[in-house]
Each structure stands twice: as structure tokens, then as C-alpha cells.
């Protein structure tokens, strides 16, 4: 047991001349070994920045303003670039939304694996690395011989499988998947999610799944963290989140998305729009749109508090 990952009071800002945007605002959460944590939010929620911050891939003008990220007990924010490079890939791997941007079109897919594996362990021979790649391809449901193909010879879904394979190549402890299926057709999406579930068990990896799709986290995650405008609104087990959400944003969101299994569904739309991150309203960022808003919400930004059943929520109704 134990937390593989503990994010503590993390704040990430994008500092431009025009404004400072707090993409991640004082976020604290934990991820247990072997579990899947879903990070859910819309555009501007900060979920993607959070994922990047954990692999320390935040580029200027983005900067980690404060907080800690403890990975297996060590604050990786305090590590030097060289030490972080050892961790990135070997212990924490990332899968992004767009596979094409991570694969060089002039290199065979197998060579990507070989280079990647040998970068982290030069003692591995190219032949062994390629064999490892072939084994992974089998697990991915693809023919072993395809390691000799170029990226453009794969379809979108297969390329994403390759990315998952690459992420697993070094047997990391944590995979951060940032919208891994958003650009894929729904059937391929289902395939990839099933693949992630299978391989997670087979390779004993913990998974942080970042997405805007509530259906995806419902099927895949053990626990879910809901973000809005950079702020953590609710953290709960998957079962609890959907049956009794403890934050008006979560509740409103769930009430506004169509569910294919429900007949004659009535959706309740949320008024207003997600806020402009450069000019956030004072108090709770959801207050302008919240159906349960009262005066305190507009003035004081609620802190994340833990409720009796373990659910955490940032809302004045509960804390």
C-alpha cells in the first residue's frame, strides 16, 4: 500500500506580460500503487498542465510556482534535470493525445523502441531491445513483424497502441495518459481503453488518466478527481462520484451529459461558460454558474475538505 504519488499544494502558473494565469491552483491529491486515478475537467481546467507538471514537462512561460510532487517518497520538483531524466520514461511515462507528434516519420517503429530502451540502459543490445519490442507488440494485439514498419503505415488507433507500448517499454511504475483516446473513433477508443486495463494489470502499472469524458473515467478509473478552472473541486471513488456527487459542479456536469443507457433523459444545462482564466472571479470559480451559490461563495474560495466517507470536496456547502 502506500501512495505512489502524492501531489501537495501544487500551483503552476503561466506568466506572460499580459497576465499571470494560474493553470493549477493549490492542488493536492494522491495516487495509490496499482490504482487508476481519473483526472476530469473541461478545457482550461488545468488537468493537462497537472499531468505535465508531474513529469516535469511544463515549459516556459509555464512555471511551477509552489508545492511538492512526491513520487515514491521523493520530491521530484527538487531533483536536478539529469536525475529527472532517469525517472522520466523509466518510472513515469506519458501517453499523449496525438501519437503522430511523438513519432518520427523517418524511423521505423521498432527503432523508436530500441532507441528509447537503450537511452535509459545502454547495456541492452539493440537485438534484445527489438525483441522486447516484439513481445510488447504481441501484448498490444499487433503482429510482431510490424516493428519493422514506419509510423505512417499504421492507422490512428494502432499508432496510439504503439505509444502505449512505448510507454510500457521501460516498465514504468506510473503512466500518465493525457486524453489518450480523444482523437480516436469510439470503437477504437474502446479498444485502447480495454488495452490499458489489461496491460495495467499485466505490467503492474499505476495509471493517471486525464480526460474530459466522464464515460471514460466511469469505466476505467478507481478514483476520480474533478478539476475546474485550475482548482480541485472533488475527489472521490468512482462509485461514489456518480451516485452522490458532493460538489455542485460535479452534480451539474453529470446532469448535463447524455447517457446512452437512459431512455427519455432530461438534461439540465449549466448556465454561463467556463471562466476566462486571465480574469477569474473572486471566491469559488464556479460561483457565477452554481445552482446552489450563496454569498460566501462569491467572496471566499473554498478549501478542499475531507468528508466522513473519504470524499474530498471544495465547497462551502460541505465545509
Amino acid at each position: 500500500m502506500g501512495d505512489l504519488l502524492e501531489v501537495k499544494e501544487l500551483t503552476v502558473e503561466y506568466r506572460t506580460r499580459r497576465a499571470t494565469i494560474r493553470a493549477v491552483n493549490n492542488v493536492s491529491l494522491t495516487l495509490n500503487k496499482g490504482s487508476t486515478l481519473g483526472i476530469v475537467g473541461e478545457s482550461g481546467s488545468g488537468k493537462s498542465t497537472l499531468g505535465h507538471a508531474i513529469s516535469r514537462l511544463v515549459d516556459p512561460p509555464g512555471v511551477v510556482a509552489s508545492g511538492h510532487i512526491y513520487f515514491d517518497g521523493v520530491d521530484i520538483l527538487s531533483l536536478g534535470a539529469e536525475e529527472m531524466r532517469k525517472i522520466r520514461g523509466k518510472r513515469i511515462a506519458m501517453v499523449f493525445q496525438d501519437p503522430m507528434s511523438s513519432l518520427s516519420p523517418v524511423k521505423k517503429v521498432g527503432d523508436h523502441f530500441v532507441e528509447y530502451i537503450r537511452q535509459h540502459d545502454p547495456s541492452v543490445s539493440p537485438a534484445d531491445a527489438l525483441n522486447d519490442a516484439r513481445k510488447i507488440f504481441e501484448d498490444l494485439g499487433m503482429e510482431r513483424s510490424r516493428v519493422g514498419d514506419y509510423p505512417h503505415q499504421f492507422s490512428g488507433g494502432m499508432r496510439q497502441r504503439v505509444m502505449v507500448g512505448l510507454a510500457l517499454a521501460l516498465r514504468p511504475e506510473l503512466i500518465i495518459a493525457d486524453e489518450p483516446t480523444t482523437a480516436l473513433d469510439v470503437v477504437v477508443e474502446a479498444q485502447i481503453l480495454e488495452l490499458l486495463r489489461e496491460l495495467k494489470k499485466k505490467y503492474s502499472v499505476s495509471l493517471m488518466l486525464i480526460t474530459h469524458n466522464m464515460g471514460v473515467v466511469a469505466e476505467t478509473a478507481d478514483r476520480i478527481a474533478v478539476m475546474y478552472a485550475g482548482k480541485l473541486m472533488e475527489v472521490s471513488t468512482t462509485a461514489n462520484l456518480f451516485t452522490h456527487p458532493m460538489n455542485p459542479y460535479t452534480g451539474a456536469l453529470l446532469g448535463s451529459i447524455p447517457n446512452i443507457l437512459v431512455d427519455d433523459q432530461v438534461l439540465k444545462s449549466i448556465p454561463g461558460t467556463p471562466p476566462d482564466m486571465a480574469s477569474l472571479p473572486p471566491g469559488c470559480p464556479f460561483s457565477p454558474r452554481c445552482p446552489h451559490v450563496f454569498d460566501r461563495c462569491r467572496v471566499e474560495d473554498p478549501l478542499l475538505t475531507r468528508l466522513a466517507d473519504g470524499t474530498e470536496t471544495a465547497c462551502h456547502l460541505y465545509g
Binding site: 473541461e42 478545457s43 494485439g141 492507422s155 490512428g156 488507433g157 494502432m158 473513433d185 469510439v186 470503437v187 477504437v188 477508443e189 474502446a190 479498444q191 481503453l193 480495454e194 474530459h212 469524458n213 466522464m214 464515460g215 471514460v216 466511469a218 469505466e219 468512482t238 462509485a239 456518480f242 451516485t243 451539474a252 456536469l253 453529470l254 448535463s256 451529459i257 447524455p258 447517457n259 446512452i260 443507457l261 431512455d263 433523459q265 438534461l267 439540465k268 444545462s269 449549466i270 448556465p271 461558460t273 467556463p274 454558474r289
Partner: protein
């Protein structure tokens, strides 16, 4: 007679070959984006055209409002053959049929005030301009929830949120009171928390103006929520079609069943049939012979590999439920 009738619609796009290929091969290959699509809509229908990428749904939508000319087939709107129209006649017809695009940002010229962009539709399609047109635009802005209308009129698209921009796009499409509207994935690029609003606006305008929608989407859940009829497209043809309730009650085509199994459901306790087909959608240049879905279909047999199944009635008690599958009866 139905309001919109689409008959054996086909659209083949010639493939651009490189110079060498052009010199050595005599054959011209085509992307068969739409390969024999037929359906009909009654006035007031909201027909969900559902499909994944490469299904041809977007192309079909554009064919029905004359933005593309079909390779063959007919589009008949209120008795008029749209695909035969050109020039002025087509422009006149445009008053009656409009389109709502997917990307709200890219559908609006960055250098035009949004009010003017909508007023331009009035000017071009009805010849009315000036303050009368502006008044109508302000009125429409109120209907679609863009308030304060006067202030928003003068804004440029980069000063509006995604949801607001999409409302402008809707306003522009509906300002001339068309009868038939194609909505091409209108909420796909809108924030999740705003989607329901946009769907409400669309439903509201549908009821208010008596519109007929062709609602193109890849999202079955949205289609189920909004549409009274659904057509599932796969690789340029319709696989299954019928009333929404009926399709979801008893999906007969293996592809429809696969889609339903695949859609992620925001309910962790849901039990779903987890038969997800392997493989991906092949490209539309060389669709598989016989039934297009056969390489991925768990029930495929010899006849499926040889003969393309026609779209047909399977259950006599459900005359509008059509399926293109040799074995559809199996699932009754």
C-alpha cells in the same frame, strides 16, 4: 411525400496521385466517401446521421444542401431536385436550407463583427440590409440567448466564448428561417458543460421555427437525446436506420451493436455487452468486397464476404426499421 428525399446518393473523390503515378497508371482511383445512401425525412424530423470517421456522414450532409455536387443520385427537397440547381437558382434555394458547422471559431471570419456576419446572411439571401437587417439579428440573438444582444452584435469572434460563438453560428444559419438545417457535429468542439445549452437552443429553435434537422454526429448518446430518427453510417453506406427508440431497443446490425458496446457510459455500475470488434475502419478507396463490415464482424459468413446486403425491412411490425445485414433476423 416526404420533405427531404435522398436517393442512392454517391460521391466519389478522385485521389490525387503523384506525378510518377500519374504517368505510369492509367486508372483513376477514387475515395468512395458516399456510396449509395438513401433516406427520407418528414417535416419536423430530427434525423441523427451517426458514424465514425470515414463513414461519409459529413459529405452526405453537404450533399444535401448543395455545397457539394453528387457523383450520382438525387437530393429532393420539397419536390425540388437540389443537385440539379446552379447559380441563382441554387442561391435562392439556400434560403430554405442551411448548415451549422462544427468548429465555432473557424466558422466565423476573425475580422467581422459577429452581428455583421449574421446580417450578411440576410443581405445575401433576402436582399435586405441596413437597420432592418440589424433589428432581425438582434432579435435572433435574443432567441438564442446571446445577451446583451446589442453589445454582442459589435463584438469580434475572439471576444466570445466557444459556446457564444456557436450560438452566433446557429443564429446565422437560422436567421433566414430556413426549413431544413444540417448540423455538422455542432457540439463536438464545445466545452462539455456548455453542450447541453447548445442542444437546448437547437431544440428550442426546432420547436419554434418548425425546422427539420439532419444532425450529424459521432456521439450516439447525443443522437439518442436529441433525434427522433437515426441512421448509422459505415464506410459510405447506411448500415441501419429507424426510429431512435426502436434502434436502441433492438439494434440489429452488428456494427450498431458494436457502437453501443463501445460508447463509454457515465455510470460505473452499468453492465454493457462488451463485444468490441477488433480492427479499424478500412479506407474508403478500396472498401472490402461484400458487406463492408465483414472483416470486423463477429458473425461474418461466406455470403457476407461476397454480397453487399441491401438496406431492408426485417421486422414487419417495424416498417421504418431498416438494416443492411444478411443475418439481421438472427437478432430479432
Amino acid at each position: 411525400m416526404s420533405f427531404l428525399e435522398v436517393a442512392e446518393l454517391k460521391k466519389y473523390f478522385p485521389v490525387q496521385h503523384g506525378l510518377l503515378e500519374q504517368l505510369t497508371t492509367r486508372k483513376q482511383t477514387f475515395v468512395k466517401a458516399v456510396d449509395g445512401v438513401s433516406f427520407s425525412l418528414a417535416r419536423g424530423d430530427i434525423y441523427g446521421l451517426v458514424g465514425e470517421s470515414g463513414s461519409g456522414k459529413t459529405t452526405t450532409g453537404r450533399l444535401t444542401i448543395g455545397l457539394l455536387k453528387p457523383t450520382s443520385g438525387k437530393v429532393v427537397l420539397d419536390g425540388i431536385e437540389v443537385q440539379k440547381l446552379d447559380g441563382t437558382a441554387l442561391r435562392k434555394m439556400r434560403r430554405r436550407m442551411q448548415i451549422i458547422f462544427q468548429d465555432p471559431t473557424a466558422s466565423l471570419s476573425p475580422k467581422m463583427k459577429v452581428g455583421d456576419a449574421v446580417a450578411d446572411a440576410i443581405r445575401l439571401l433576402e436582399g435586405e440590409g441596413g437597420s432592418k437587417a440589424k433589428k432581425r439579428v438582434l432579435e435572433m440573438f435574443e432567441y438564442v440567448g446571446l445577451t446583451p444582444a446589442r453589445e454582442i452584435y459589435g463584438r469580434y469572434p475572439n471576444n466570445l466564448s466557444g459556446g457564444q460563438k456557436q450560438r452566433v453560428v446557429i443564429a446565422r444559419a437560422l436567421i433566414t428561417r430556413p426549413e431544413y438545417v444540417v448540423a455538422d457535429e455542432p457540439v463536438a468542439m464545445v466545452d462539455v458543460s456548455v453542450r447541453a445549452q447548445i442542444l437546448d437552443v437547437m431544440r428550442g429553435m426546432h420547436d419554434r421555427l418548425g425546422l427539420t434537422y439532419l444532425f450529424i454526429t459521432h456521439d450516439l448518446a447525443v443522437a439518442k437525446y436529441l433525434c427522433n430518427k437515426i441512421g448509422i453510417m459505415y464506410l459510405g453506406r447506411i448500415a441501419e436506420q429507424g426510429d431512435t427508440k426502436e434502434i436502441f431497443r433492438l439494434p440489429l446490425h452488428p456494427y450498431t451493436q458494436a457502437l453501443l458496446a463501445a460508447v463509454p457510459v457515465p455510470d460505473p455500475s452499468a453492465k454493457k455487452n462488451k463485444n468490441i470488434p477488433h480492427g479499424e475502419i478500412p479506407n474508403a478507396i478500396n472498401p472490402p468486397p461484400g458487406c463492408r463490415f465483414n472483416p470486423r464482424c463477429p458473425f461474418a459468413t461466406e455470403v457476407c464476404r461476397k454480397e453487399e446486403p441491401p438496406l431492408r425491412k426485417v421486422d414487419p411490425s417495424q416498417p421504418t426499421h431498416l438494416v443492411a445485414c444478411h443475418w439481421a433476423e438472427k437478432f430479432l
